[in-house]
Amino acid sequence: MSQSLSEKELENTLDAPESPGGALAEAVRAYFGRVRGGDVGPLPAILGLVVLLAVFSGLQGNTFTNSFNFANLLIQSAPVIVIAMGIVFVLLIGEIDLSAGWTAGVAGATLGVVCTNHGWPWYLGVVACLATGAAVGLINGLLVAWVGIPSFVVTLAAYLALQGLLLKIIGEGGTIRIQSQTILDVMAKNLPVWLGWVLFVVVVGLYALVTFRQMATRRARGLVTQAPVVWLVKLVCLTLLLGICTYYLSGERSRNPALTSIKGIPIVIPVVLVLLVGFTMLLTRTLFGRHVYAVGGNAEAARRAGINVPRIRLLCFVICSMIAAGAGVLLASRVNSVTPTTGGGETLLYAVGAAVIGGTSLFGGKGRPVDAIIGGLVIAVVANGMGLLNKSAAVVYMVTGVVLLIAAGVDALSRRRAAASGRA
């Protein structure tokens, strides 16, 4: 519906004097110019993702590409992706949070204790869970921003302490079951097929409308803007990508459809999308977001411009921990319970790896929430694909390590490239 509307509007602007082909070529040239100049963004990760998908599809045709595995992969990757979105905030200011994994665990345990043991409704449980995250972030942030202890040490200490706290809450060898059906549904249930398609149309329509209005306003005010044909190409790509995913997820993927039917978009996907849009808005459209990038780029310049640098640092740690706490809900929902190892193991390292693989710089000032999704998918595809090939955990860890190393290497090299081309 909204699509046809934007198509009509589009025809008016396509009458622009320059030829669409020329404008498109220009945009492509400009993009590759940026890449050559060291501004690679998520390009390596996207290429990597495509290569991985091709390799695993080739090696393991049916089992890897079937829609059951596809949905499974997306659901599996969600908690790591969400934690990675939080990690992006601290990486942006050039810091690190090693405790985010256990923060998720402790927050999940809080949810379990208040909901299962004390019978709170699920929404109050989520509030308590987020508050736990905020408290952890506040302590980390105060120690880093005001006391001045390096974040690596502060969050390493928190890593150990929270691990202990989780053990204390749950008890050795214990588990807390999650009984709230709403919480369990997040990771286990799917949207009805029709609602999935409605969601698809709404997302694509909103994207088209918002970007088109942006373009039209800029043009009206005489500012440089992208050519309509570039906008159209981007829109078509997005529509195709989301359309294929939605179609794929709308098919029946139960092994025994007569018994239970599994189809539709997993509920966790819109949840992650909402987080993505929210955090992207926060970072690109608000004063706070602008100041986060400024502090990450040049803290001294930010301070001289009147920005309260310690406050920005503190807020980034609080946001990171609160997002991790949100991921704790997903972790608890996924396995129906919280154990002393929830959020432990490789969770945190995968999350940091996801952010970095997606193109967020470890040196601060560069990164976007969408990096977490792209990087998180790369890691999930490696783990999932290797698992299906019956490779041992040993091999999976080693390959993931190499992927992370390549990503960090790309980051370091592109920085060098940018420095060389920028100051020439």
Binding site: G37, R290, Y293, A294, G297, A301, A305
Partner: protein, 299 residues
């Protein structure tokens, strides 16, 4: 009396008095007195060069003006009124902006974002990118800056001269009246130095008061209307640029005093340091602090 004609923009105030006037300011750090009874004036539409050897107290003087550390004593007059400037914010509120040598730009942000850093325009709580972009483009056009391709370029991709230009544009974006430039050409090549010097000249012609710190005498004589010379914490002279030549400025910087050859050299500042004779023994008797380099004596 002016060497330039003020054309457009902010005309010099009708009172014709200096915009900034310091009278006998002192500054000590602990037992070390860095500034002794320094006087300085800066006028709208004029470039006042502040010169002096390393350790002469130039940085201390501008940091005092900018409110980074307040002067210990003396008068600080702005637009004819005594003011107390104890913080950079107070200085900014008066219309004083400083462009430091390290520029303080964020490489990862674009030109518009850097120009507005810390003072972003908002609509309905969100960043008003369009207004900021328009005004940034206007400001750069107003400074006749045409070397920048797009105001949405990342600052990391700019040349040294362009970065300096962005830093200066940020200083004049805020209806500032006095812009202090700390060695704006120190790290630049020939062509870029030229660009920046022309920009400095344009700032004055648009009606701003400019204080330029520089080590390059040729540069100073080219763009400055007045030259203020600091020597070991004392203002030895504030002279009109057209009245002095290269050698005379160097003599002042290195502690000598001017021979009144043509009789038209107007000398302000502590008189005990000047007119004491034709030679370099006019050096202050008290052991001067913070002398980083031993000045060469002029024969």
């Amino acid at each position: 009396m002016t060497t330039t004609t003020t054309e457009a923009g902010r005309a010099p105030s009708a009172t014709e008095g200096p915009l900034l006037e310091l009278r006998g300011v002192n500054k000590s750090f602990g037992a070390v007195q860095v500034l002794h009874d320094v006087s300085l004036t800066a006028r709208l539409g004029h470039v006042t060069a502040l010169v002096g050897d390393n350790g002469a107290g130039k940085s201390t003087l501008i940091k005092g003006i900018a409110g980074i550390h307040a002067f210990d004593g003396g008068e600080y007059l702005f637009e004819g009124h005594p003011v107390h400037v104890a913080s950079p914010r107070q200085a900014n509120a008066l219309g004083i902006e400083v462009v430091y040598q390290d520029l303080a730009l964020c490489d990862n942000l674009d030109i518009v974002e850097n120009l507005y850093l810390g003072r972003e325009a908002l609509t309905a709580g969100l960043l008003d990118e369009l207004t900021m972009e328009e005004r940034a483009a206007e400001t750069l056009a107003g400074l006749s800056v045409r070397t920048v391709k797009s105001v949405r370029q990342k600052v990391a991709s700019l040349s040294g001269g362009q970065r300096q230009t962005v830093a200066i544009a940020r200083a004049v974006l805020w209806n500032s009246k006095l812009v202090i430039l700390d060695e704006p050409t120190a790290a630049l090549g020939v062509a870029q130095t030229e660009q920046v010097l022309q920009l400095v000249r344009r700032l004055a012609e648009s009606g701003l008061a400019v204080i330029l710190i520089s080590h390059n005498m040729t540069e100073v004589l080219r763009v400055a209307d007045e030259i203020a010379v600091l020597y070991l914490g004392r203002m030895t002279a504030q002279v009109k640029a057209k009245d002095v030549n290269h050698n005379q400025v160097v003599t002042l910087i290195t502690g000598g005093s001017l021979v009144e050859e043509g009789g038209h050299v107007e000398v302000t500042g502590p008189t005990d340091d000047i007119d004491t004779g034709p030679q370099a023994d006019g050096r202050p008797a008290a052991a001067p602090p913070a002398a980083a380099t031993e000045p060469e004596e002029q024969p």
